[in-house]
Symmetry: C2
Subunit: 701 residues, 2 copies
């Protein structure tokens, strides 16, 4: 199988293609019409605010990374870790942060251009916003592949000339080191998701509560001092946060699969398949972007179909090429691995369709929630929660079927490790089209900002109507992206538990992973509770941060004379600063909890309890995350459905009730819910990295 050596080169090549195409798209966006001076000015304000936020965020995170780097270095010197782990931790964090930064920069440069394009036609607007999303999607996969390629080739070179750790071979040494990458990316992702999520919802809720509810001015009115902060929030939370998040999922699934491939005795080909499949996904995603086109003034379902066509085209391409890839690298005897990939790919598509069904106002569930608004806010809330809870059934069943199918198709009945490899690679299959799924996802906030830009710049209401149509779609695609992130996390769960077991086994301890082990059961219970605790913390954080914005907006309305009459300008920057400071402060405790809990449980209740903790958190976190994302999406679209003129339309009592649902949904879908998959994976990563340390000092051995 000598051909696998050159095949592996496709990984860096894919990375370069992704980054190159992203750069090409970015420059073609830059060349587009920026709109009027007013539009440029507004976009500039948002851009400055977003930069300021990220600068502060990265500063805080840097300190955290420095501290953890030192801790990891000490652990490495104590021989609890391979010496490369602390450095891999840094690059993982760096590239994850960079993905978010680039995506956000493009997004903030695209909002006014999208608004300007929407002045021409809906399709033009869609193209600009979607291109911006595609830059983000391709940057994430490009940087991910770059990081992986650099480390792979570096370690390959290093171990060629240096002694390989005792009791292992070169490829095992490489993959077990690369497995620990994930922690840096996960940490960065958690901070980005939680901090960004708190910022965006605090600004959004704060702006709405005082502006819309108290002062009675429309959304995105330039007189609202929090309006820029609200737009900044879309970028730092929904773009930068999501980018870091999916970077982590992407890289994490590939390294976990590689490690298991080696453990299954597949050698270098076992590493080649996931890496090259990711590269195949890059090219397929790029081709898929050309399928995204819309006719003029299309209904939401038509727009959605346009995006779906792009995703399906990419999926189909990956499905076809992967067959030859698996055949060429692993041989026809392992063609079951190919079917495992297909399981993941199909599961991803079904989860996407299911999310669409439960959140898009084109279908029954969101309309049901909208109808509940006729009997007031209480029934809207109950309806939305019920829809969200109901929506968990299909994704869980689909993931369950995918796990079993990929396990047995890959040959798990005869060889357990091969089955595990199959399950892990199904997650890679699900995420292989990330370039385009993330594009459909990241385009939402751009459309949202374009709407804000159009409103503030006083453009023709028709433009706003077009951007609103694009934005409504964004709610559904955003929920889909979250479904992918959490679905792949659930698929990766088995791989991560196995990785943890193997890591512990390296230090001479055989894990008793039976449900009858009371320590493990207690770990399961604790793990099942953590997502709820984490959700509570982040929701309350949003509440507190929003409270500060409310106070500030009220102050400005009172103290700045002529503001309401449009004669004086509000102090936008101050609101941005307050939201920034609040988000930075509030993100610390939940994030630290995620990092410390698995270590603490391991030390106090034992390594089996830590394994239980990870599993329990995945079990309840999976369900809770899907529920929160879909409830939030359904509420948001139910509100938009009423605003389109149904059930009494804007200003009716039903509309007021629907707004309550939307506000409750905000932290559900944009703060607490999407952080849960990172919580789960970060805890796994921490457990793996600290396995030797915990084992040495645990009370239960």
């Amino acid at each position: 199988m000598a051909q696998t050596e050159w095949l592996l080169l496709l990984a860096p090549v894919g990375s370069i293609i992704a980054l190159g195409f992203a750069a090409y798209l970015a420059f073609s966006i830059f060349k587009m019409d920026e709109g009027s001076d007013k539009m440029k000015e507004i976009a500039e304000a948002v851009r400055i605010g977003a930069r300021a936020y990220l600068k502060r965020q990265y500063l805080g995170v840097s300190i955290f990374f420095a501290v953890v780097f030192v801790i990891l270095l000490v652990l490495a010197l104590m021989k609890h870790l391979v010496i490369f782990v602390p450095f891999a931790f840094l690059t993982g964090g760096f590239f994850s942060g960079l993905s978010g930064f680039i995506g956000m920069t493009i997004a903030t440069k695209s909002s006014n251009r999208t608004a300007a394009a929407a002045m021409k036609s809906l399709n033009s607007g869609l193209r600009v916003a979607f291109s911006s999303g595609a830059v983000m999607g391709l940057t994430v996969v490009g940087l991910g592949l770059l990081d992986l390629s650099i480390w792979y080739y570096f370690l390959d070179w290093f171990y060629a000339s240096h002694p390989i750790p005792i009791g292992t071979d070169k490829i095992t040494a490489i993959t077990s080191t690369m497995l620990c990458f994930g922690m840096g990316a996960s940490c960065q992702a958690l901070f980005a998701r939680v901090g960004g999520g708190i910022f965006t919802k605090a600004a959004d809720v704060g702006a709405d509560l005082v502006g819309k509810v108290e002062a009675g001015i429309p959304e995105d009115d330039p007189r609202n001092p929090a309006v820029i902060a609200d737009n900044v929030g879309d970028n730092v939370g929904d773009v930068a946060g999501m980018g870091a998040d999916l970077y982590e999922s992407y890289v994490g699934s590939i390294v976990a699969t590689s490690a298991l491939g080696v453990a299954a005795g597949l050698g270098v080909p076992g590493v080649t398949v996931p890496l090259v499949m990711a590269a195949v996904g890059v090219v397929s995603s790029i081709i898929g972007t050309f399928f995204v086109q819309s006719k003029e003034e299309a209904a939401q379902s038509v727009l959605l179909a346009a995006l779906r066509k792009g995703v399906l085209a990419s999926s189909l391409l990956v499905a076809v090429i992967s067959y030859f890839l698996v055949r060429a690298t692993l041989g026809i005897e392992h063609i079951g691995i190919y079917w495992a990939v297909i399981s993941g790919l199909v599961a991803g598509v079904i989860i996407g369709l299911c999310t669409e069904y439960y959140t898009s106002s084109g279908f029954k569930p969101a309309r049901f929630v909208a109808e509940q608004s006729l009997t007031g806010p209480a029934t809207v809330i109950i309806g939305g929660i019920a829809v969200g809870m109901m929506s968990t059934a299909i994704p869980v069943i689909v993931v369950g079927v995918a796990i079993l199918a990929s396990y047995f198709l890959a040959g798990g009945a005869a060889n357990f490790n091969l089955g595990l490899y199959g399950v892990a690679i199904s997650a890679v299959g699900m995420l292989s089209t990330l370039g385009i799924t993330l594009a459909t996802d990241a385009y939402g906030p751009v459309a949202d900002n374009a709407g804000g830009n159009a409103q503030m710049a006083g453009l023709d209401p028709e433009v706003r109507k077009r951007t609103d149509a694009l934005d409504a779609l964004g709610n559904t695609t955003a929920a889909t992206g979250k479904g992918f992130a959490i679905g792949s996390a659930a698929l990766t769960a088995l791989a991560l538990i196995a990785a943890y077991r193997d890591q512990v086994a390296l230090y001479g301890k055989e894990l008793d992973l039976s449900l009858m082990n009371p320590n493990l059961l207690v770990g399961l219970f604790l793990g099942g509770m953590l997502p709820f605790l984490f959700g509570s913390m982040t929701m309350r954080a949003v509440g507190r941060a929003a409270g500060k914005i409310v106070v500030e907006v009220r102050r400005q309305f009172k103290e700045i004379h002529g503001l309401m009459e449009g004669k004086a300008k509000p102090d936008y920057a101050h609101c941005v600063n307050i939201a920034t400071a609040a988000a930075q402060k509030e993100m610390v405790i939940p994030s630290l909890m995620a990092i410390i809990t698995p270590i603490l449980v391991g030390l106090l209740v034992g390594v089996e309890a830590a394994a239980g903790l990870l599993t329990g958190a995945t079990v309840s976190g999976f369900v809770l995350a899907v529920m929160m994302a879909n409830s939030g999406g359904a509420w948001d679209n139910a509100k938009k459905y009423v605003e389109e003129g149904h059930l009494g339309g804007k200003g009716s009592l039903a509309h007021k009730a629907a707004v309550v649902g939307d506000t409750v949904g905000d932290p559900f879908k944009d703060t607490s819910g999407p952080s849960l998959n990172i919580l789960i994976k970060l805890m796994s990563m921490v457990s793996i990295v600290f396995a030797s340390f915990v084992l040495s000092y645990s009370l239960f051995k």
Copy 2:
């Protein structure tokens, strides 16, 4: 250890004492002042409605029981079950239903008497309502002990003269048969909780939406056609439903412990301890009731302290007597078992205190929720959910500590089965004081109904104020009862998984219960999702049923002339009928799902997946149940706090927002949340009973 033979006689003796004291209390309530004719008339209407509901419910349930009885009989004839199981299924269901029926009869006879007593003083009102609750509590434990005693002595006699099944001994044959009792009690409990829960909340929400919100008449106004249905609901849901629920928990924990005691090689003494400890709990509970006294016009915290004193006194008594019991039956070498009991007892007390903290308006969390009402309904909802989620941490940690403590104190490190026995008996310890904890719980609906009675009969507002004080307390004690039910379910989880494993082992299959088993992991995911799906179904059922009430109340307001002026009487009975029919219809699908899912998963994904399913459902169901109960309690008390005149008081915008929270909390705390522990246990029971059948026909073997 010959003395254990006569000690076991304490179980039927305890049963007789419980039932005797309950009868004494009931007759002393009957002798009390019934109040004015108007009061009698209202109470009579509620009584008739509640009877009508239960009659219809029991009719439907009888058909279900007949069908299942036949199925079980066929399975028994096919040798998949012992022949006694179908009959034990019937008695379990019968006694569970009888507990609910008696409790409800007393409750409906006590509401007007409580109102009449509250005319004299707060303490008199408290005494009547609490006595009514005590009748219920003692009936549940008395009938539970009776059912257990009858079967124990019958099987003991039977196997003395008939051949014992091959490969086992007499006591094992007895306990493994008794283990299957639970299914009848669980089925009855699920129907009672779900049906009653749907009825009570549909009537409540329906009455409020049209009466309070649309027509602007006060709560419990006799002009509201749904007002009697609302009061009936408190009785059929919160009394009859809860009685059946806790009967099931109580009996289930005792039989599971007995079976494990025998498996641990403790023989008859292993059965004696849980049964006699239950009898000790009866006497302690009766003594505890005498500690419940209050001064006049006391604050909520003082009233709460009065109830708490009763519970603590009982707990202390159980703690002391159990020491001698364990020492006498199991000997000093097993004194660790005693400490396991204490672990459960202490865990129960802490869960109770924690529930108080998170739901009582005397503490920060409920006040925090109340303060959120100043910024509107959305923040109330977010606040309540956040509080509920946060409140899951301590109960989960406490249960975790109790599991580990009881396991290791009982000697699990040396003998796994002994450890299991310890965990199981800690649940018996937690539930040993059920006589009094259930009394504090069941007294709430009586106080609530007394308030309705006082309002409708036009008594002095001072009386209503007193019953309101009693009722507010009821919200907290009700949440405590739910905490006990779910906490004991979590403690029993390990025992039930072990019982399932042993049952499967009887048919020659060794379960691979490792987390690395993909089928088991898929079962875990499916199980984790079920409580959410179940919650969604029951919440939507409440919504649909409430919708029917809304339509009917609107119709009566429109069609009955002179109703609003008080000249004509509404047709109360018709509302009761509609709620009854709706509840009966809506309870079928969720209940069937609970019964069919474990069989289906076992058949399609294997017995290991079924074990995973049970565990996953326990993990997420435990957390979700605590969250729903405590969010609901906090919202309800936050509303009451505002109504007491804080933050703007009745009629303010804050009050309106708080009412939204309360309405959302209704199905949370009274329908979906409290059904979850039964869902978990019923699924375990079904799995155990159908183990042999599933094993024979499963696709995965």
